[in-house]
Symmetry: C2
Subunit: 303 residues, 2 copies
Amino acid sequence: MAPKRLVCFLAVAAALATTCHGWGAGAGDVVSSSAAALSFVDRLRQMMIPAAVGDGDYCDSWRVGVEANNVRGWTAAPRKCDNYVENYMRGHHYRRDSKVVVDEAAAYAEAAVLSGDPAADANATWVFDVDETALSHVKFYKKHGFGYHRTDEPAFMEWLIAGRASALPNTVTLYKKLLLLGVKIVFLSDRPDTPELRNATATNLIKEGFDCWDELILRSESSTATGSVVEYKSGERKKLEEEKGMVIIGNIGDQWSDLLGSPEGRRTFKLPNPAYYIDNYKRAGTAVRAAVAITASSSSSSS
Amino acid sequence: MAPKRLVCFLAVAAALATTCHGWGAGAGDVVSSSAAALSFVDRLRQMMIPAAVGDGDYCDSWRVGVEANNVRGWTAAPRKCDNYVENYMRGHHYRRDSKVVVDEAAAYAEAAVLSGDPAADANATWVFDVDETALSHVKFYKKHGFGYHRTDEPAFMEWLIAGRASALPNTVTLYKKLLLLGVKIVFLSDRPDTPELRNATATNLIKEGFDCWDELILRSESSTATGSVVEYKSGERKKLEEEKGMVIIGNIGDQWSDLLGSPEGRRTFKLPNPAYYIDNYKRAGTAVRAAVAITASSSSSSS
């Protein structure tokens, strides 16, 4: 019998010819990608700058408020927390918070798949958000500041199209575990579905170890025209279940808007993100789409 | 025109003759109850024991995982986190995390009430959970240990019936603010609705500054017999909206099972609680009810 991940391979091959790339050291290995290790500068920061300085105590509580979906609708972290957010995201704190989430998700997935529930076997599917879930923007923030409002300017879109984001700490580990368990993988992102960005996203994912998937869903023009992020994402999940027969056993994202709205998935996992907030109920994507247009226009005029 | 809180007073007076007690220093004052100040021993602990020692880093991330509803279904905090949980709950950390939640809730309530939405005016209602939301169990844990599994033994029920719980830090502030805004107050608890426990709960709430409410809902025998905590609580919220015309603008609790299940309330707020977890989807109350029976039986046999 063909191994389950071959099913995945074939499905992906049909959808995107270049998707499945070398299994490298083996899907089951705990990934120790370059992203998993702190840079020398970040290690130095950890030694020099304590996690909580000045307003750190307040910022620590503010961050927990964000994670528990108490603090909503903010456009940027409080100004006094800029340094806190930078220290948090560049250092061990972010990584260990993420690790707890991912460990919990992996344990749950294993139990779900081994439970003997047929629905959780052949059609078991896991939905991953892309930005700050599979791929990290920390490199971008290092250049542009951790208080940068990501949808404000074309710089962010240029960076996405450059495809140089690193894998998010720990997420590759969960991804590899799920592949080994035979779980189908769907990436569901609010990134606009332009040929340029689809290619950049796929290439970046593959380069960072997410080298196989069943679906890579980006937001098409028509779906951008209607509804909030919650409506868009829950609508796509509904299609996966109703039209493709998938059973979404897990759903992981860094925003509550990734996780709310029926069908949420049998269980949801919230990765930390104190850098930006996407409103659960407002329509998003407009600024990003405008940025794509600007970027595309400037690329073509300069070519 | 009578002030709005008089409406509340009259409704409560009809429901429970002893409910509305002295407005004290005035409903609008920021409450500085005895519970808001740390005891001498707790202050000393704060100075002597850093927030994170030994496994503190892991426990800190574990706690954030709990708050964001990633870590579920646990019966007690990991053994190695016992000290962490005690330090967290006895000290400033718990209080400042709660304060961020309550500040956010108060700002939201003010904006909602002042928005001009008629539904959010005359019928605006706020649902409070009781245990670890209005009233704290920290005093109990000081005596029985912070790893105590609260539904295991009659000791917990005896303690509830003694009615010596303190107000939870910050929650009284939110409560008083809501009264000033003319918002109706509902306490919705999973405590069993026995005459003894109803009386103890009401008396304890009043003593701690929660001296007026529109509804105090405890779990009746019939509702205990069916469904999970989520079913019970969402069912009661539905009745409040459909039968009493209330508009639940806010809902605050320390458990995700307080906050999930339609109608959740227009906005929900999760207070921290790393001491125990109530499963969202399992039926609860059985152990507590058994404890009530044992307690009642031993009280009557000793009298």
